[in-house]
Amino acid sequence: MAAPVIDSLAGERTRRTAPAPRNGGRFSVHFAHYKWLYLLLLPGVVYFAVFRYAPMYGVSIAFKDYVPFLGVNGSPWVGFRNFEDFFANPDFPRLLGNTLILAFLNLGVAFPLTIILALLLNEVRLSILKRTVQTLVYIPHFLSWTIVASLSFLLFALDIGPLFQFLNNSMGTHIDFLSDPAWFRPLIVLQEIWKNTGWGTIIFLAALSTVDQDQYEAAIIDGAGRFRRVWHITLPAIRSTIIVMLILAIGQMLNTGFEQIYLMTNALNREVADVFDTYVYFVGITQGAYSYSTAVGLFKSLVGIVLIFGTNWLAKRFNQSGLF
C-alpha cells in the first residue's frame, strides 16, 4: 500500500476525465453539473472555516484587550502592549530558560540515542531478534502521556515506588523524584526516551535499508573493521535523513509537549517545570488572561517559524540538502 501512496504524493496524475464542462465554461453550468460534489465538500469547508481559520483570526486578540462580552471584534486594540508586558515580566526569562534547557536536553540526549538505537538494530542479522526488539520498543509510542505519567508516579513514588525502594535499600539514598525540582528534567527526558526513541528509529532504519551493500564489500576488501564501516559508509549515507530530522526537531523545539509537562508539574517543581505551553494554559485558561496568553502563544509560534527557516538556511549553507 505504501508505494502507490508515495507515488501519488510525488506527482499528480490526470487519468480521470470528466465528461462535462472543463475550465472556461460558465460557472453556473459547472456548478449545476457538480452540485452533489459541492454538497459533499460543504461540511469539510465549514469545518476548516470554523475550527481552523476562525482561531487564526482569533489570534488578533493578542493585540487587543479581550473582553468576553465584547467578543474578538468588539474588544479594543492595544497594539503591542501584551507583548511588552510579557517581555518585562520576570516569568519571561524563566520560561525561555526552562523551555530551551528541556529542548536542548531532548536534542542532545534523546535525538542521538534514536540514531544509535537505529544503528545497533541495523547491525542485527538475526531477524527474529530484530523484529522482537522493534515490536517491544514501538509500544510506548501509542500510549497516552497520562499513562506514561501514571507509570512514572507509581515507579518513582516516595517511600512506596520500586525505584525509590531499590535505591534506598541498596545505597541508602532518599530521593523524591517527583517533587524535587532537580529531578524534573531528567524525568522528562527519560519519559521522552522511553516513549519515543524506539518509534523514532523507523525513519532511520528505512534510510539505512537503502545503503548500497557493495560499498561494504569494497570496504571489507580494503580491510575496514565494523566501526570504520559504520563511520565511513553508514553514517554518511544517512546524513541527509539526520539533517532533515534535526531541522524538524529544531523547528519543534519550543513545542515541549503540553500534556507531558502539565502532567508532571506540581506545586514544588513549578520553578523549573513551567514552559511556554503550560504557562499559556495556566495564565490563559485558569486565570482568564486571554489576550496576554494568546500573545505568549503567538510569540512562541513566531520563534518556531524563525527556527525552522533558520536551520534550513544553515543546512543549505553548509552544502547539505535542506528541507525546502
Partner: protein, 290 residues
C-alpha cells in the same frame, strides 16, 4: 553476500544482541509490574518493592473499580466518545476527500492550498478555546470530537487514494444513472476499506489518548473521560498545585491505580499489531512528503 566476521565482530554482535534484548525488556518492565500489581493484594504491593508475578492472585482491584460509578462512567463515556468521534471524523474526512479528488472541480486548488496552510499554522490553544466556548460546546462531548474532525494529513492521503482508483468504475456507474453520492457510498467506500480502517484506527487512538481536550473543555468532573479519571486517581497524592484535581479527593490504594492503568492501556495493546503495521507505513509516507 556473506560478510566475513572477525573475532571482534563476533564479540560486538554478542554484546549488541544482549544489549538490545535488555532494552526491549526494560521497555516492557513497567507494564509487567503494573499488570502483576493489578492482580496482587495491597499487602503484597506494599511489602514487595518490585515483582513480575503476584504470590497471591486476587481480582479485588478490578472488582473495586468496576463497582465505582465514577470509573464505570468514565470508561463508558470514553468508549462512546471514541466510537462516535471516529465515525464523525472519518465521515468528515471522506466526504471532503472525494470531491477534492476530482481534478476538474473548480475551487479545488484554492481549497487544497488552504488545507495545507492549516497544516502549518494554527490559532493555538487560547483562540481555539474561546471559539469552543463561544459555540457553547464547553462541557459537551462534541468539544472532544469536532475541533479535530479532519486531520489535514489524513485528508490528503485519502484524497490521493481516491484519485488513484480506476476512473472506469465510476463512469459505468454514472451510465446507470448513479449520483456522485451513490458512487462514493456504493463503489468507492467498499474499495477503500483497508485504507479507511487505517485512518479509523488513527483517529480512534487520538481520541482515546486525548488528555488536552477534556482538560480544556470538560470542567464538569461527572463528564470526565478515562484519561482524566486516570490522572486524578494516580496523581492526586502528589501535591498538585495545578488545579483540576479535587482537593478533597482521597487517593485510593495502589492496587486500584494499577487496575485503572491496565484498563486504560488494554485497548491500545489489543490493537497494537494493526497499529504497528499501519502507522509505521504512515510515518514513512509522512517523511517522503516532508
Amino acid at each position: 553476500m556473506k560478510i566475513h566476521n572477525t573475532r571482534g565482530g563476533r564479540i560486538f554482535d554478542a554484546a549488541n544482541y544482549v544489549f538490545l534484548s535488555l532494552i526491549g525488556l526494560i521497555t516492557l518492565l513497567p507494564f509487567v509490574y503494573v499488570f502483576a500489581g493489578s492482580f496482587a493484594t495491597e499487602a503484597e504491593i506494599t511489602r514487595r518493592a518490585f515483582f513480575v508475578w503476584p504470590e497471591q492472585f486476587t481480582m479485588g482491584s478490578y472488582e473495586y473499580i468496576f463497582a465505582t460509578p465514577a470509573f464505570v462512567r468514565a470508561l463508558v463515556t470514553t468508549i462512546l466518545v471514541t466510537a462516535v468521534g471516529t465515525l464523525v471524523q472519518l465521515a468528515f474526512t471522506v466526504t471532503m476527500a472525494y470531491p477534492l479528488a476530482k481534478k476538474t472541480l473548480r475551487g479545488r486548488n484554492a481549497i487544497l492550498s488552504l488545507v495545507v496552510f492549516a497544516m502549518v499554522f494554527s490559532g493555538g490553544m487560547i483562540p481555539t478555546f474561546l471559539l469552543v466556548k463561544d459555540l457553547g460546546l464547553l462541557n459537551s462531548y462534541w468539544a472532544l470530537i469536532l475541533p479535530a474532525a479532519i486531520n489535514p494529513f489524513s485528508l490528503i492521503i485519502i484524497k490521493n487514494f481516491f484519485q488513484e482508483l480506476p476512473a472506469e468504475l465510476e463512469e459505468s456507474a454514472k451510465m446507470d444513472g448513479a449520483t456522485e453520492i451513490g458512487i462514493l457510498w456504493r463503489i468507492l467506500l467498499p474499495l477503500s476499506k483497508p485504507v479507511l480502517a487505517t485512518f479509523a484506527l488513527f483517529y480512534a487512538v487520538g481520541i482515546w489518548n486525548d488528555f488536552m481536550s477534556p482538560l480544556l473543555y470538560l470542567s464538569d468532573n461527572s463528564k470526565w473521560t478515562l484519561q482524566m479519571y486516570l490522572r486524578q486517581v494516580t496523581a492526586a497524592s502528589d501535591l498538585l498545585g495545578t488545579g483540576n484535581v479535587d482537593p478533597n479527593y482521597v487517593p485510593p490504594e495502589q492496587g486500584i491505580k494499577f487496575a485503572v492503568i491496565v484498563v486504560a492501556t488494554l485497548p491500545i495493546l489489543i490493537f497494537y499489531p494493526f497499529l504497528q503495521k499501519h502507522f509505521a507505513k504512515g510515518m514513512l509516507i509522512g517523511s517522503v512528503k516532508g
